[in-house]
Amino acid sequence: MSPSRHRSVLVALLLVVTATFALVVASPGGVRPASAASVAPTASCRALDPNLVHGVCLKYTSRSGTGFSWIGTLRADNGRVFFCIDYLYDSRIAGNATVIGTHGLVNQFGSRVGAAEVAALNEVISTWAAHGSTGSDNRDAAIGLIIREVMSDGTRSDGTVVYPRGLRVGGTVRAPVGGLSGPVLDLARSMWSQGSAQRGPWRVSLTASRAGALPLGTTRTYRTTVVSSANQVVPGARVTFTCTGPISCPAPLRTTAAGSTVAVRPAAIGAYSIRATVTGPAADGKLYRVGTWRTHGGGGARNNGVQRGWIAQSTPASATVSATSGIVKGNPQVATRASVATVVPGTPLRDLVTVSSLPAGYEQTATATLYGPFDAEPGATSCTPDRIAGRVSFPLVANGSLTTPAVVATQPGYYVWTESLPGDVHTNPVTAPCGLSVETTLVRSAPLTATTPRVHTIASGQHSLVGGRVYDDVRVDGLPSGASVPVEWTLLGPIAPRQGSCAGLDWSHAPVIARGSLVVSHDGTWRTAPTVLRTAGCVTYTERLLASSTSVAVSTRPGVASETVLVTRPVTRVVPEIPSGPFSDGTR
């Protein structure tokens, strides 16, 4: 191919590409594009209307000449801020305009704006411009741009499409003619996305964790969820509660994406109701409009119509939901376990009791009854009056765990505990069933090889400071091979020293500072959990090694010197000066 022929081919190819591009950009019969819009000084728009508040002044060129378009807020004669919704209409609000709802909104051509779009628009304005302008040119412009595209009237009579039409919920806000630089477009898209998803009216739901009457001593939780008209969960919505009846009413909360829960606790027998209320954007906003406003039915926007203005305010709507239930007497739950499974005769037996769901204010004396001895493991009907081996009682005022007083089982055989909690005006009586295996203890004669372990204990120090920690080292010798024996420890005190000494004190009425237990499985030294000392005085440890099938119980006495600690406050380094007398040199 010669160079001249080569050049001709290149020129022809260039012409084809150029023609194709021109057809694509300016296709015959399509909507006529205008030149790119640019952001003009606000003064350019203010020359046309002095009532601008915040927004952006756009300048564009159409076939019929240069145009300016304001997207943003304006101020009415009465001071209220609004957004124009009729493109090319006179932007002033007529003095005789009244406030109406946006229900059934149509654009200037008479085309109906969808209810969902109106609701989304109200969400955007209620959220961002609840009290007039957003205070930002870009945010007000973003809302103005959304309005233009929702109203779908941004086409001039010469066919120039200044603002794309047909923005629907979930759709994407597009740029005005020729594009738009800066953050306005991104802001508008974000606002519309949220408005579409969280448009009102909202619904609030309350779902109880359990149906039926609510027993005293328990709580009932409710899951509360707020959902938009788009069926989307709304996070961050403020839900308030009002209640009737003897319950603790939940405090207001902010919803989360996962939903939120609240709890009610009954205080007395009766009935209650709980009502949740949420306030969110309404389905409609508010407009300024004169009574003579009419659609014109044309294909393009017209100049000099009478403007309608969407008032920049929050237009809210509230939703409520209620739940009711009765409150009945409480049914305490009692979990019990015998202190030891197998012992030798003469061993004190105790029951470990854990009570829950006890109504507040309960103050009764509970009873633990030991039945036995039985030849075989007792069953549900074994607990008859003629088999009572002992009965102990203990005060019960709150939920928690406790150990009953002891009953000594002297005869070999099986023994079983039952617990009885009396009822009161708020509480049903409870009696634990007979024959539970965890409540059963086998007392069998000590084998000839039964041993008496030796226990030697020593506290972590004989002196400690307030705020310090103490613990006890328990040295166990003579434990049968394979034994696994619980050791219960108690820290008693503080009590006052006598003549400066903790020796020889009477510990029988000393308060308990802390208690705990550990299990020893072989000879050696075992350490108790540490306890922080809060008060000065004398404290002492006492330990009790429980009996097993191969060893007898062993206890240590409180007040043994190696087990006793004097707790004092830290001493000051020097004797402080006490300047409690005034001084005068006589000059005053």
Binding site: P497, R569, P579, S580, G581, F583
Partner: protein, 227 residues
């Protein structure tokens, strides 16, 4: 000359021995401090861990002390009553101002030093103090403390607990030497040491100051805790 020096040294040694071996007289100022060092070393070692090791050089013998407000929590220590004197004063919680006990500036209030035993403690000494008078020498709440007698009652109510004490000793100590370390002991039965100033001295120019600390020691009555 040598004989005279030997005689003088002998006299000095005799005086020291007399002073050291003098029978104890309880709360006595001056030589009483030496008696402590004459006690068996083992006992001193045991007691030392519960008493301050040394006295400080006083800073406010010839100037007024003003407690910074950050060291005084008004009213947090409850109230103190001395029925026989008709005294009832609010108790502020005070701290140490360096090596000085912060005293409430208002002479009608009493300060409890928070490093000492609380009203409910079973062990150690609680130290409370108040000004004997103000800068114009108008008497304060504790101005008549010197008139208290052994056996008198003192009642300290703090945090809803009423603690009763019985006065067992009243003593004066030169402020130039400070109070004995035992006033701040942290062991032994719980006592209350109520301190103010005494022994007013008037200067020729019309000035005045107090040269002694008056310490009233009261032992906590058994089972005196009342809520």
């Amino acid at each position: 000359m040598i004989r005279m020096l030997t005689l003088a040294a002998g006299l000095l040694a005799a005086v020291v021995l007399v002073v050291i071996l003098r029978p104890g007289t309880g709360a006595v100022v001056g030589p009483g401090a030496l008696l402590v060092s004459a006690r068996p070393a083992a006992r001193v070692a045991d007691r030392d861990q519960f008493r301050p090791a040394a006295n400080v050089r006083p800073r406010y013998l010839h100037s007024n002390y003003r407690a910074p407000s950050r060291l005084v929590v008004p009213g947090a220590g409850g109230t103190l009553r001395i029925p026989s004197l008709g005294v009832a004063a609010p108790v502020d919680v005070v701290g140490l101002d360096g090596t000085t006990m912060a005293i409430p500036n208002n002479p009608h209030r009493v300060g409890w030093l928070k490093t000492t035993a609380t009203s409910g403690d079973l062990v150690g000494a609680s130290v409370l103090s108040g000004h004997v008078s103000d800068e114009r020498d108008v008497p304060g709440t504790l101005a008549r403390l010197g008139g208290l007698r052994r056996g008198a009652a003192i009642v300290w109510v703090a945090h809803g607990i009423e603690r009763r004490f019985v006065v067992t000793a009243i003593a004066r100590y030169p402020r130039s030497q400070g109070v004995p370390a035992s006033v701040f002991r942290t062991d032994g039965a719980h006592v209350l040491n109520l301190v103010t100033c005494a022994d007013r001295v008037t200067t020729p120019g019309g000035g005045f100051h107090y040269r002694s600390n008056l310490v009233v020691t009261a032992r906590a009555r058994p089972h005196s805790l009342r809520r």
